[in-house]
Symmetry: C2
DNA sequence: TAACCGAACTCTGAATACAGAATTCAGAAT
DNA sequence: ATTCTGAATTCTGTATTCAGAGTTCGGTTA
């Protein structure tokens, strides 16, 4: 029986592979991406690489390099602030809608999401903490009943993961993030949409302050751009 | 003296050309786009067409067709409602920020934007009315000081123009839209960000109601997909 | 007449080739 | 030692080709 799920195209696979490298910091800010090298290391021709790069540029993960080619967008405090401004209203909307439309699902599934988040903090693994944070917020996006919220927010989360990773790698974990998540969830479960929205917006504003001030404290990276890392990536078959 | 402005790539030009065709309704909902035909009519190879199509898909203007290829996304009431939900919070944010950060620019330039809008209504040209509506809102996005708002909203406006075009073509013009715009502008000019945001959100919610109810009244289009229109487009050199 | 099957055709994704722009590097001039 | 110039190299955008999947159409069968 042939699977009915469409096979993921090479472009999509290359997009995800590059996105993963960026998110994990293996391609750093302002690293220039060379199409032929990526194509070789992934074992594909240049065409799907080029197409994936165009999509990544469109989603803000890459920007035009000086001269020619594309580079990884720098991590900039102003962009983080702008992103969190947008996030505050989008997450506020998602949370209000979740409380209004899906309080019951929140009661069914929410506690497990919170438990996984607290376990991630105990694990002290940065990747797990970030993934758990994302899980919580995408859980709310899903409950909102408006697929556009996740659709619009998705590409931004990749940028945010890089910022969070950078900040967490060099600083300490914010202590009360999961208390805040839990408080938000309680309002959602109780169907109190205005209170849920207010908490969500305050949570995002607080996170913005923490992240941007931590970025301000980080040492400015050396102006020399390190060479592009050439790591062999196996093409998924 | 050679111009320092970078020449727009073929992909970008093809993207804009196709986007224009979609927005003007020359490619209708669920029309399947044939890469070779578009390439021929634009006088380019298939590759930049394919890349442009991928970007348009990523921006929601196209979706996968049954079987293979890409088609123009259908106009759906639910998507419009979801879009306007997102718009309400984004336009609210933009308007509040504009009042907070750029009231003076609003005082300098806002009256001309309103005048052009009222002239567009008097002209009875649908294209002009839509362009003027967009001008007003992008004016506010610009005043907001957060470039992400325009960046996120941009692709959605193409979809909205199609909906507006469809509705306006078959119905009457909403009468008080520019009164509402003017009231919003007055709050922005006065720097009253909370009042500006409130008016903006109410304006968007009202527009959503009008658009979705008008869509409900429209006759369901015939299920036969008309043939793709082959119109010769000159490649810009 | 309707359903089925296979051949022919169409279209798309990916690979490859080509052309031109950008970058690098080595040698010459100051 | 520094600057400049031209050649060589690298890289990107675009065109072309190839292979395979999907669609259409005509003929056959029930």
């Amino acid at each position: 029986m042939r699977s009915l799920a469409p096979q993921q195209s090479l472009v999509d696979q290359v997009y995800e592979a590059i996105l993963g490298e960026i998110t994990e910091g293996k391609f750093g800010p302002e690293d220039r991406l060379i199409q032929e090298e990526i194509a070789e290391s992934l074992g594909v021709s240049r065409q799907p690489v080029q197409q994936a790069l165009l999509l990544l540029r469109s989603h803000g993960l890459l920007c035009d390099a000086p001269g020619r080619g594309l580079m990884v967008t720098p991590l900039e405090e102003e962009r983080v602030r702008n992103l969190y401004e947008v996030r505050a209203v989008m997450d506020g909307l998602a949370t209000a809608n979740a409380a209004q439309r899906n309080a019951e699902s929140a009661r069914l599934d929410g506690a497990a999401v919170i438990a996984r988040g607290r376990a991630a903090v105990r694990s002290k693994s940065i990747a797990r903490m970030i993934a758990a944070d994302m899980e919580f917020h995408f859980f709310l996006y899903g409950l909102s009943g408006n697929p556009l919220i996740a659709e619009v927010s998705g590409p931004h989360w990749s940028y945010l993961r890089r910022v969070m990773g950078e900040v967490l790698m060099r600083g300490t974990t914010p202590d009360d993030i999961w208390n805040e998540h839990e408080a938000i969830l309680e309002e959602v479960m109780a169907g109190r949409s205005a209170a849920a929205e207010k908490l969500a917006r305050a949570h995002i504003a607080g996170a913005s302050d923490v992240l941007t001030s931590r970025m301000r404290e980080l040492p400015v990276p050396a102006p020399e751009t390190p060479p592009i890392r050439k790591r062999a990536l196996r093409r998924a078959r």
